[in-house]
Each structure stands twice: as C-alpha cells, then as structure tokens.
Symmetry: C2
Subunit: 204 residues, 2 copies
C-alpha cells in the first residue's frame, strides 16, 4: 500500500499511528542518494547511499520502484517488501506520486491512498505552525501541493486527515475493504466455486 499526500498533511504521524495500533503493518524504508538532513537517521528515515551504489541496485533488480526527483534518486528496496508481504503484512510505502503510479502498474492489487488536510487553508496553517520554515519554503511547498493535487485521481482513496485517531482507523478500514475485492479473494472464490460444482456433480 502506498500513502502519499501533501507535505503537511500528516502522513508521518498517520503511519506511526497505524504501526503502533495494529500489528499487520510494516513500513518500507526508501533508499536515496540525497544527503541526510539534520535529525534523519540511517535505516529509519532512509537508507542513504551514493549514485554508483544506487545504480548498481537498479541493475541488480533490487528495487521495487525508483524515481529521480530534484536531481536525486529515491527507491524502494525489494527484499524488505517481499519478506514482509510473505509474513502477511501490509507494507506501507510513503512515496510520491511518480513512485505510486509505478507501484500500481507493477502491482495492480496495490492500494493507493492520498492523505489531505480538510482544506488548503488548513494545509497552509499547519505548514506555518511548524515555525521552522521560512515563508519561501512554505510558498514552495504550497506550489508543490498544486502539482501534487493534479495526480489525486490516480489514487484509490482520498482520506481527509481532520482528526488523527479517526484517520488512522479510516486507513485501517480501507485496507480491510481492499482485502474484500475479488482480485484479493481469488483463493476463496476458487474454493467455493469448486465446492459448488462438486455438489452439482454429486446431485446428478
């Protein structure tokens, strides 16, 4: 499952909420060639690497998806995703739309969720409230949000993050709903069909 959304929509807090409240989620950590920012930890926020190693990982098919953004590579390491999926986890990728679309293409069963604040005004307020960003950075993030908003229709669901706890629960329910689609219930459909055909043969 992919969680995207405007910078300031509260994705990080939501993901933490999902991981702490339910035990069937795992968070994928992206690999990037961009330099660590203050406070970012290796293996927690990102796996930091250089261009050469990133390109080697691409060649070895070691990434589920990757994209280039502002001159840096960002990608999702394959091994962790596959391992956690085999363990029955919903693997969360907190990535941008470029990556999200690639995931959907490769995994049509993936669940794409876009998180948004209740209004643009609220988004602006949240960005200003952080107090750590200059007006220029805020303006840039809002401009970026305009671009991001163009891609919303590609997502399966739009979740309005108005109240954190409610929103965490909504996302959890969306993953439960997703499990009920025919594409994800193939084994069940096959089984009940075979059983029903068995009755028919037995009756004749």
């Amino acid at each position: 499952m992919v969680i995207s959304g405007f910078s300031g929509a509260g994705k990080g807090t939501l993901v933490k909420g999902l991981l702490s409240r339910y035990d069937n989620y795992a968070l994928s950590v992206s690999m990037t060639t961009r330099a660590p920012r203050e406070g970012e930890r290796e293996g927690v926020d990102y796996f930091f690497t250089d261009r050469e190693k990133f390109e080697e990982t691409i060649r070895k098919n070691g990434l589920v998806e990757y994209a280039s953004y502002c001159g840096n590579y960002y990608g999702t390491p394959r091994a962790y995703v596959e391992e956690q999926m085999e363990a029955g986890k919903n693997v969360i990728l907190e990535i941008e739309i470029q990556g999200a679309l690639k995931i959907k293409q490769k995994f049509p069963d993936s669940l794409l969720i876009f998180v948004t604040p209740p209004s643009a005004q609220e988004l602006k307020k949240r960005l200003e409230k952080r107090g750590t960003e200059t007006p220029e950075v805020i303006a840039r993030r809002l401009a970026r949000a305009v671009e991001e908003s163009e891609g919303i229709e590609a997502y399966d669901y739009i979740v309005v993050n108005d109240h954190l706890e409610t929103c965490v629960e909504e996302i959890h329910r969306l993953t439960e709903a997703a499990a009920m689609t025919p594409a994800r219930s193939k084994a069940f459909i096959h089984k009940i069909r075979e059983e029903l055909r068995g009755f028919e043969k037995g009756a004749n």
Copy 2:
C-alpha cells in the same frame, strides 16, 4: 449500491440490518410480472404488475434497469431511486447479476457487493435448515449458485456472511470507503485544487 449473492446467503436479513441500524439507507422495491408467492406483499417485496404495464414502464423510461429471468420481467423503478439519492441516501438494490452489471454500466460509481456464506457446505446447510424446501428445490438453488459464482469477479467487494452483525457493519464500512474514492470526491478535489492555486497566485 447493489447487493447480490447466493440464495441462502442471508441478503434479506443483512439488508434489514442495514436499514434498522443506520439511517442513510433506502431499499428499492423491484417491479415484476411474476405472480406473488405466499406471504409476499405488494409494495414491500415487489410491485406486482402485468406484462403490458411493465412494457409501458420500459417505454416511458421508468426503470433504471430491467431483466428477463425465467420468463418474467424484473426491474428497478426509477422515481424512488432518484428521489432517495437526492435525499442523500444509499439506495440498496437487491438484484441478480444481470441487473447488477447494467447498473454498473449506467452508474460507474455504483457499489456492487456480493454476499456469500463462508463455504458451499454452509450454503447447503442453510438451505436445508429452512425445512420448507424439497431436495429438488435445494438442488436447483445450488445449481443456480454455480452459475451465480461465475459472475463474482464483476463485483466490487465480496462479503462473507459468517456473523450477521459483523457483516452488516462490514457492508456499512464498504459504503463509507466507497465515498472516499476520487470519483465520489470530485467536489472536494476541485475545491482544494482551486484554493491551492489561489495561494500560488497570491504568492506571485
């Protein structure tokens, strides 16, 4: 929204559960040319009519969908559906797959739910438990279930009716999830996009 499912899956009880527990549902009553069965009430189970009047209703575009099944017409009267939708209700159509597919074609935003018991064995048991049906009728219903099972993939969601209360809640949550799709959030998306663009203009 359409609720279909095997005869014996418990659709009727589920629909009653939805109507009694939540106030945002309305049940559409079908029109049919088949004769009333014992205990069936006009305007509650069906609107009973004759062939001539049914065909007149078709000509007057008075049906959302209709299908012919075992020599009888079955259709969904348009007026009630439109009126209840305008009142903000989720209108439930409890119809067969033929009708369900026509609804999906006409209303791509419709929600198609297929209800099934946890296993074919359980379906057989439930049909036998009713005690009112002859072995021939049960065999015919099971044969019909085989046919119905062929169409499951056309539905948006498959809900396993194992426990009534849980199942009613699951269906309710599916309608909530459906409301979060981009196709059903057009007004919200449009609004936030316009607001964001407004900030951008304001900043330049």
